[in-house]
Structures are given as C-alpha cells and as structure tokens.
C-alpha cells in the first residue's frame, strides 16, 4: 500500500511538506483576519437601520453561503484576470496565492458575519434596556456593554473557523497553489506513491488543527470565568 514510504520519509521531503503546511497556515490566518474584518462590516450591515447596507449584507451572506467554496475560488480565479484585462488592457500575471487569500477571505467573511451577528444578538435584551434607562446612547451601549459580552461568544466559533479555513485552504491546490495538499501530490508523482505523502499530509493537517482546537478550548475556559 505504501510502496515508497521509506524513500519519501526523508528530512528533505518532510521539510518540503512542512513548508506547504506553513503556507496553508499562513493563507488561513490571513484569510481569517480579513474575514473577521468583512464579518464586522457584514454584521454592521445586517444590524443597520438603513435598507441599503442591510440588503448588501444579506445578499453577500446568502450568495457566499449558498454556493460551493471551490466554485467561488474558480470564479475569482478567472474573473479577476479578465476584469483586469478589461480595465487596463494588460494581461495580469496572476498570483494564485493572492487569489486563494481573496477567495477564502470573502468566503470566511460571510460565515463570520453570521458568527458576529449571532454573538451580538445573543447578549440579553435586558442589557440594552438597562443602558437605555441609564441614558446611554446606542453607540455607548454597544461599545461598553454589548460588544465585551458578545466578544466572549464570538471568539470560540472564530477559532473553529480558523480550523475550517486551514482545511478549506486545500481547495486552492486546484488553481495551482502549492500548499500542503498540492505538496503531497507533487511528492506522490515524484515517487509513484500517492498514499504515503497523503498520509503525511493528513498528519500535518491534524497537528495544526488539533493544536488550534486545544488552544480554542483553553481560551473558551478562560473567557467563561466571569460568567
């Protein structure tokens, strides 16, 4: 089943996969942060009293959550270069990693919009009323009372979102980004044994996801202290 395991199991190859893993981690981390910013915008849009930001935010979330991530990656992969050509007349030398980050960020932003929105909505309505009776403005209430409480509810699912992103970043191997999964495939072709590098890749993914979920549980416990 693993014909070339011995040959593949070299420091050089392990380091090669490690580089891929780091790249996956980096892409996921950047996408998570941009996704959080988009999520904050999205949640503000959804909570807005005005119709335009509300409609935009709702469309954003529905479209992104209602279509496959792989399709989104492929669309962005082909749309951005052709838009660039249409606007500037030049051909774009495309950076697939950048495309990957853009696609994953937009995708994650939609999910984080919902995480942030439900974190805010999850704070007891009585907190709003208490602030109202104390004369505080909506902005003061949000900043001083609601967000600090919502934050505790939002952080644990955002950490799970990070794990999802690490796994989903494997999808950008389809547009030619050499991250962890693609790295494993490269080794597979080299040694005529796909199984061994796949198993190694799985172990690398697990090391990343399991340690993050461990950190997540720790953070969750720490945040729960004053509840």
């Amino acid at each position: 089943m693993f014909p070339a395991f011995q040959q593949i199991f070299t420091t050089e190859n392990l380091a090669y996969l490690g580089k891929g893993a780091l790249l996956s981690l980096l892409i996921a981390a950047i996408s998570l942060i941009i996704g959080t910013l988009l999520g904050i915008l999205g949640a503000s849009g959804k909570r807005s009293h005005h119709i335009v930001p509300k409609v935009i935010a709702n469309l954003y979330v529905e479209i992104i959550r209602g279509t496959p991530l792989l399709l989104q990656i492929l669309i962005i992969f082909s749309v951005i270069p052709s838009m660039y050509t249409a606007i500037t007349g030049n051909v774009l030398r495309i950076n697939v990693y950048l495309i990957g980050v853009i696609a994953l960020s937009i995708n994650s932003g939609a999910y984080q919009t919902e995480l942030i929105r439900s974190g805010i909505n999850g704070v007891d309505k009585g907190q709003w009323e208490a602030c109202e009776t104390l004369g505080m403005s909506e902005k003061q209430t949000m900043r001083r009372v609601i967000l600090p409480q919502a934050f505790k509810r939002i952080v644990p699912p955002v950490i799970s979102e990070f794990i999802t992103l690490i796994k989903d970043s494997s999808l950008i191997s389809t547009i030619g980004a050499v991250e962890l999964l693609k790295g494993a495939q490269v080794l597979g072709t080299e040694y005529y044994d796909v199984m061994s590098p796949y198993i190694l890749a799985a172990i690398y993914y697990l090391i990343m996801t399991v340690s993050i979920s461990y950190v997540g549980r720790y953070v969750e416990k720490r945040l729960a202290v004053s509840d």
């Binding site: 009585g126 208490a130 009776t133 104390l134 004369g135 003061q140 001083r144 009372v145 004053s226 509840d227």
Partner: protein, 243 residues
C-alpha cells in the same frame, strides 16, 4: 409630577393598555398591582419610554415627553431611574463599575467623582464591601440592591420599579424592600409594580389596581386594602391576601 393621558398599547394579539390615565404627584409612592397580564408592567415601561404607546401622551413635570425632540426627550428620561425584575446588571463589570459606567459616559463625571457617588449609594444599600465583586458572585437580593444603587447614581427624581422582588428567593425579598422603604422615607417619588401586598400597604401611599389593561381602582393604600370599592379588586384581594 407624572401625568399619563389616555395611553393605549397593543401587542401582537393583546390590548395591553386601554386608554389609561394616571397622575402621580411628587413624593407619592404608587403601587401598581393586579393579576399577571393586567398591563401594570407595560404601563410602567410606557412611562419610561421602553415601550412606545400607540396613542396617548405622557407628561413629566408638566412637559410633554416627545420622542421627536430627542435631546429634550433624553433629558426627561434621565430624570427617571428604572429597576428591573431581572436586575440586568452588567456581568462583565464589577459592582463599582456597574454604578459608575453611566455617570462617566452620560453625565461626563470624572472617574473619582463617579466612584465617590457610587460608594455613597453602595453604602446606603449596604454593599460597599462588595465594590470589587462581579455580579455572578452576588445573591439575588444583593444584585437587586446594586441595581437600585446603579439607578440612584444617575440622581433620578423618580424611581420606577418593575416587580423588583419577583425573581428573588423568599428570604431575600425583605432586604430589597427595606432599601426601597428607606428611599420612600427620604421623599423619593416612586412607582412600583409589585406583588408584595405588605409593601404596597405599609410603604406605598396609593394603590392603582389594573385588570385587562384598565385601571379598575385608584385609592389610598389603607382604603384599598381595608375597603376596596370595585368587585374585581375585592375578588383579587380575597385571592392574594391570607388572613
């Protein structure tokens, strides 16, 4: 001091208040009593503006409370303190921070000024030594006393209480009622939605009895408890008082 004129309020399927009018004078302790669903909490919430009535007007010190004049409306609302059944303390802040947040944010008090005021009121409700505790470390009665101190820190002229003891364990009711009694003695104008007939009788000087969104009886406490006029009030009292 407060005048409620022909206020009606409808929720989805129920008419919570039907053309209610009421006047409360300075220094009065008015108890709003009645069966659940009678509209007493809704009336209190309408007075503060937590609920918007469909029709009717509310006057504070002779001046109309008008949402369309936000600056004035806000200043008027700030003259009223509100105490909730479920306390609604801020769980992410200490007792002291609960009390100083609004004075600092709304009244632009300095931190030391706000803390001095807060400590004065925490002393009065007997919880000065809990200043650095978080609400989850307090008993229900203590939480409600902090909530009262928090409201008092905004120097209200009227205090509105929405079933302040209904969520408490029985042995904690009295400590909260005592604080309210002290407040009454100092001349605070109070409107109290309550099921505590003893409090309504002894501390309150007027009872407003509501049923199905209508004021059925409005009488001095003594008279209401000894000689109720309406059949509905007689029936209610016969069911709640144990003699």
């Amino acid at each position: 001091m407060i005048k409620v004129e022909h206020v009606s309020k409808k929720f989805k399927h129920t008419q919570a208040l039907k053309d209610v009018s009421l006047e409360v004078k300075q220094g009065e302790i008015v108890s709003l009593i009645g069966p659940s669903g009678s509209g007493k909490s809704t009336l209190l919430r309408c007075i503060h503006g937590l609920e918007v009535p469909e029709s009717g007007k509310i006057y504070l010190e002779g001046e109309l409370m008008d949402r369309h004049d936000p600056v004035k409306y806000r200043a008027q609302r700030n003259k009223m303190g509100f105490v909730f059944q479920h306390f609604n303390l801020f769980p992410n802040m200490t007792v002291l921070q609960n009390c100083t947040l609004a004075p600092i944010q709304v009244l632009n008090q300095s931190e030391s000024e706000a803390e001095a005021t807060a400590m004065r009121y925490l002393n009065r409700v007997g919880l000065a030594e809990k200043r650095d505790e978080y609400p989850n470390k307090l008993s229900g009665g203590q939480k409600q006393r902090v909530a009262i101190a928090r409201a008092l820190c905004m120097s209200p002229e009227i205090m509105l209480f929405d079933e302040p003891t209904s969520a408490l364990d029985p042995e904690m009711i009295k400590e909260v009622l005592d604080v309210m009694g002290d407040l009454a003695k100092e001349g605070m104008t109070m409107i109290v939605v309550t099921h505590e007939m003893g409090f309504a009788h002894k501390v309150g000087n007027r009872v407003v009895f509501l049923d199905q969104g209508v004021i059925m009886e409005d009488a001095p406490s003594e008279q209401f408890f000894t000689d109720p006029q309406s059949e509905r009030a007689k029936d209610f009292l016969s069911k709640v008082l144990y003699e």
